[in-house]
Each structure stands twice: as structure tokens, then as C-alpha cells.
Symmetry: C2
Subunit: 146 residues, 2 copies
């Protein structure tokens, strides 16, 4: 496998409005995407764009707020109540080949490939098998992300 | 302030050789830069490139290993012995304007601007003031990074 694009950095936040105030008001983000709710995971997501090469197509920042106590980010926020860096997401050309690759390396793939925030297939690999980094793998979107 | 380029994600690692084996052998990184030692911080650094727009000029991954017990990443590794996501580094056009900006926002800037791993001026902002994210601010290099 060849290292793919760093699609986004995932950041868990206890309070989306406070996080947006920080990222727009302090950090100066200008391109904030519409909210996305992932019911299965119990989370609310906002993506922010970062600049790269004169455009806003750099690695995105993904803010993730829990919508219920058993959300996928609730255990992380229990340990880090103020929020923090939750995962890194890298792109691959083929999600099924990537899953087979990580499994062959003895890494714990967390579930089958499934649609991620933008509908493109993703899976996660256990952070304890990845140098402490919960790693999301995303099949490179065929069209630019919205 | 406008949000700048996500220059790199900083990852603390207990063992650089094991980390390089993971990032090259499992994640498939192909562009690994020469080691950098920052004596002041007591750390060894390796940068890895990620692809973007057909080149290898995406957000970099910075692996950071302590060289002594009082290194700048030792407290993080004491809490996360297997390693993990340590900081995010964003670029700004002017390091002194950025320092004044964060201070005006009531954020704790950790020390004066100083040369970072590539010799360009940097400072850090306290993670507890930044949604749990230790944030490095880097003055955009006038020439491409090596």
C-alpha cells in the first residue's frame, strides 16, 4: 500500500457551537460546511476547509460532537472532557483492498466498509494497533467532496 | 486571522524505528526525510510527506521521539505510552502578528517565537486553551520545505 492523501483530522468536541466559535473566531476558518448527522454513530459533524496551493482543498478539519451518551466519540470525551484529536483519515484507491491489507498486517479493522460522512466507503483501524492513532481509511471520492 | 495551511500533524512515538516501520511498511509512506535533532527540546524528529494534487506536498506527518526523560514529548508519552497524536501545526504569514493575535484572544502562548525543526519561526499555544489541541503556529516558509 502507498500512503494516500491525509483527507482530514478528526477532532472530538463537547460543544459544537463553542468549537465553531473557536475555529472561526480564533483560528480564522472561513469555509465551514453544513452540519451532518450520522445516526448510526450518534454524532454531529462539521467539516472546515484549510488552504493549500492557493485553493481551499487542503486537509480538512472534522469537528465531531456526540448526540447521545453511547456515541462513538463519548468514550474519548469521557477521558478528554475538553475535546482533542480523535483520529486521522487517509485516502486509499480501493476500500476492500485496503481492508485486506490491514488485516494481513495483523491490524484490527473495526467493522466492514460502510458509508462515511460524505457517503463514500470508510472503515476504522484500532488505534492500539496503529501507534496510538485511531486511523480512518476512506476510499478516495471519485468526485470532489462537497 | 485567517486559517492557514495545515503544515503537519505531530505524532509522539516511543520508538522511532518501530514508528518508521509502521509508517513505511504498513501505511506505505515513501518520502521520509532525514532525522532532525532538536537539542533544546530533547527530541528526534522525522517528517514524512503525504500526497496532494499529484505531488507529495500535502500535510506532513511529524514523528517525534524523546531523547531524554525531560524532553518536550515525555509528559505526553507518560500518559500515552504507545504514542499518539501530539499537536497540529498551522501556518501563518507573520509569526509576531500571530502571537499578538492569540494573546489578545486570551490564549496562553508558550514562549517566544523561535526556530522550529526547519529553522522557520514557530511557537505553541496551550492545548487547554485550544479545545484540547496543542497548536503549533509556523510562519510560512519563504522557500519550499526541504
Amino acid at each position: 500500500m502507498q500512503l494516500g492523501r491525509l483527507n482530514h483530522v478528526g477532532i472530538a468536541v463537547p460543544d459544537m457551537e463553542a468549537a465553531l466559535a473557536h475555529w472561526t473566531g480564533v483560528m480564522g476558518a472561513t469555509h465551514v460546511h453544513e452540519p451532518i448527522v450520522i445516526e448510526r454513530a450518534g454524532i454531529l459533524i462539521r467539516f472546515l476547509d484549510t488552504p493549500a496551493g492557493g485553493a481551499m482543498n487542503g486537509t480538512q478539519v472534522e469537528l465531531i460532537q456526540p448526540l447521545r451518551a453511547d456515541s462513538t466519540v463519548s468514550p474519548f470525551l469521557a477521558e478528554n472532557p475538553g475535546g482533542g484529536q480523535h483520529h486521522l483519515c487517509f485516502e486509499v484507491p480501493d476500500i476492500h483492498e485496503a481492508k485486506a491489507w490491514f488485516e494481513a498486517q495483523g491490524k484490527r479493522v473495526l467493522g466492514e466498509p460502510r458509508p462515511g460522512a460524505h457517503g463514500h466507503p470508510i472503515f476504522f483501524v484500532h488505534g492500539d494497533d496503529m501507534g496510538g492513532i485511531l486511523t480512518e481509511i476512506l476510499e478516495t471520492p471519485k468526485e470532489p467532496q462537497p
